[in-house]
């Protein structure tokens, strides 16, 4: 079988075997013919070897060159990557993180497109900012403002807010685009965020006073939920990812009417967070372009666990909302007994009477 396998060096190996046999037998008569064949083959092998070595050298030379080019390119790419990373970090400070991330993942569409979406819009600003700013040294003002914006931004991002812009001392942000957990969850996240912001402000105010800031910043917050136009506005040369619409103006107006240190929300927002917060109804506001009176509510605080409404909902038309804080002991017992009776009746119903 081994003889069937082709061997590139078969002729050289044959000659070696022949030479070995001659040496072993000492058959000098064969030497002349063998020497001629050996010389002929050896000459060819030397030529082949010359060509092979030359070819091998050329390949090596190309490889060295390619390797050098690769090293240069890798270095250039690394420098480029590092530049891009730096640029990305800088840009991240100017763009909403969701937009920045989508952009660098190559998923963001920079077309001038907008869509109508139900969003929860947040506005905050610092009460008497101009007067407060005038009473401070510019260095101190910068320090306190940066601290204020840093802390508020951190809280906003932790709740998934899309920071639209900072307008002087004001902050405008919204929930519901580009990512949304649903209208209700977006509104709740916004209100929870606003509560944490005001709580944080109390800590900051204490800290600032200790550092000599006599009348530290106090912020007002307004929140509204409604349909807005969201997307890229502007021109092909310059785009701004933002929201516009009457409901945005409502949020701004609510902020202006809010108590210092307080949060004023519209009825549309309140309807989505009524089990979350205690509120106090305030005077309605009207706004040009909005053909309804806007009912407003000032948030008094988080609802205590025991005050949260008890709910039973089923798509077949069952909807029970119980607010325990409005029920006395006897009422609670009576309703519980009625619900138990209803549950027993429901369990004992004959399945044959049910719909398919």
């Amino acid at each position: 079988m081994a003889e069937d396998v082709f061997d590139l060096y078969d002729r050289e190996k044959l000659l070696l075997a022949e030479g070995q046999a001659i040496l072993e037998t000492g058959d000098h008569a064969q030497i002349q013919g063998f020497a001629e064949r050996l010389f002929d083959r050896f000459s060819k092998v030397v030529r082949e070897n010359e060509d092979l070595t030359r070819h091998s050298d050329r390949q090596e030379q190309r490889m060295v060159k390619l390797n050098r080019n690769l090293k240069t390119q890798t270095l250039e790419l690394e420098q480029q990557r590092s530049r891009l990373e730096g640029l990305s970090k800088q840009l991240a400070k100017y763009l909403p993180p969701q937009i920045h991330d989508a952009m660098f993942a190559g998923k963001y569409d920079t077309q001038i497109t907008t869509q109508r979406k139900k969003l929860t819009v947040f506005f905050s600003d610092i009460k008497d900012f101009t007067r407060t700013a005038e009473s401070l040294q510019p260095e101190s003002l910068t320090e306190y403002l940066n601290e204020y914006f840093s802390e508020m931004t951190q809280i906003a991002l932790s709740y998934g807010a899309t920071i639209d812009k900072y307008i002087g001392d004001a902050v405008m942000l919204f929930f519901g685009d580009p990512e949304s957990k649903g209208v209700k969850e977006d509104a709740r996240a916004c209100v929870e965020m606003a509560l944490e912001m005001q709580e944080r402000m109390l800590v900051l105010q204490h800290r600032w006073r200790e550092r000599g800031f006599e009348h530290p910043f106090v912020i007002r917050i307004g929140i509204n939920t409604g349909f807005c136009n969201v997307g890229n506005f502007g021109s092909d040369q310059r785009l701004s990812y933002t929201i516009i619409g009457g409901e945005v103006n409502v949020a701004q107006r609510l902020e202006a009417n809010s108590d210092p240190g307080g949060i004023l929300i519209s009825h549309e927002t309140y309807a989505l967070v009524d089990d979350l917060v205690d509120v106090e109804e305030r005077q309605s506001v009207s706004l040009k372009g909005i053909d309804r009176n806007i009912h407003t509510y000032a948030i008094r605080g988080r609802k205590a666990e025991s005050d949260k409404p008890l709910r039973l909902k089923h798509p077949q038309g069952v909807h029970i909302d119980l607010s325990p804080q409005y029920l006395n002991h006897d009422d609670r017992r009576l309703i519980a007994a009625q619900l138990k009776t209803l549950a027993e009746q429901l369990e004992n119903l004959d399945d044959r009477d049910s719909v398919a």
Partner: protein, 123 residues
């Protein structure tokens, strides 16, 4: 004989009518003797199985040293066919920017001067 190219071996075809041998692609087989054995045997037998002009076209992209040894055997077989009284026309094609393949073609041309041999650039 007709072998498709793989990522390690060239396409090889040997036809009788017209009598033509073509080898093209990359060549760094795991076992050079095993891969080129059949074509070398077929070429070595050409003098007894065919007659007339043999056209040879080679267009290699990359070739390792062991494969060059196999090429020598092929060219030796072609030269034997020529010595049997037949015409052999070899065309060695190399890409315009591939000086290594061009120079290798020139080396073969130089070693087998009795063959009608041309080195051409393409691409």
């Amino acid at each position: 004989m007709n072998l498709e190219a793989t990522d390690r071996t060239p396409a090889i075809s040997l036809t009788q009518d017209p009598l033509k041998l073509s080898i093209s692609g990359e060549s760094f087989p795991e076992d050079v003797s095993a891969f080129y054995g059949d074509i070398i045997s077929a070429i070595n037998q050409l003098a007894s199985t065919a007659k007339g002009k043999l056209e040879v076209e080679m267009a290699m992209v990359y070739i390792n040293s062991s494969s060059i040894k196999a090429m020598y055997r092929i060219f030796e077989g072609l030269d034997a066919y020529r010595q049997a009284g037949n015409e052999v026309q070899v065309t060695w094609k190399a890409e315009a920017d591939d000086d290594i393949m061009q120079e290798l073609g020139e080396d073969f041309k130089d070693r087998f001067q009795a063959l009608s041999f041309s080195v051409e650039q393409h691409g």
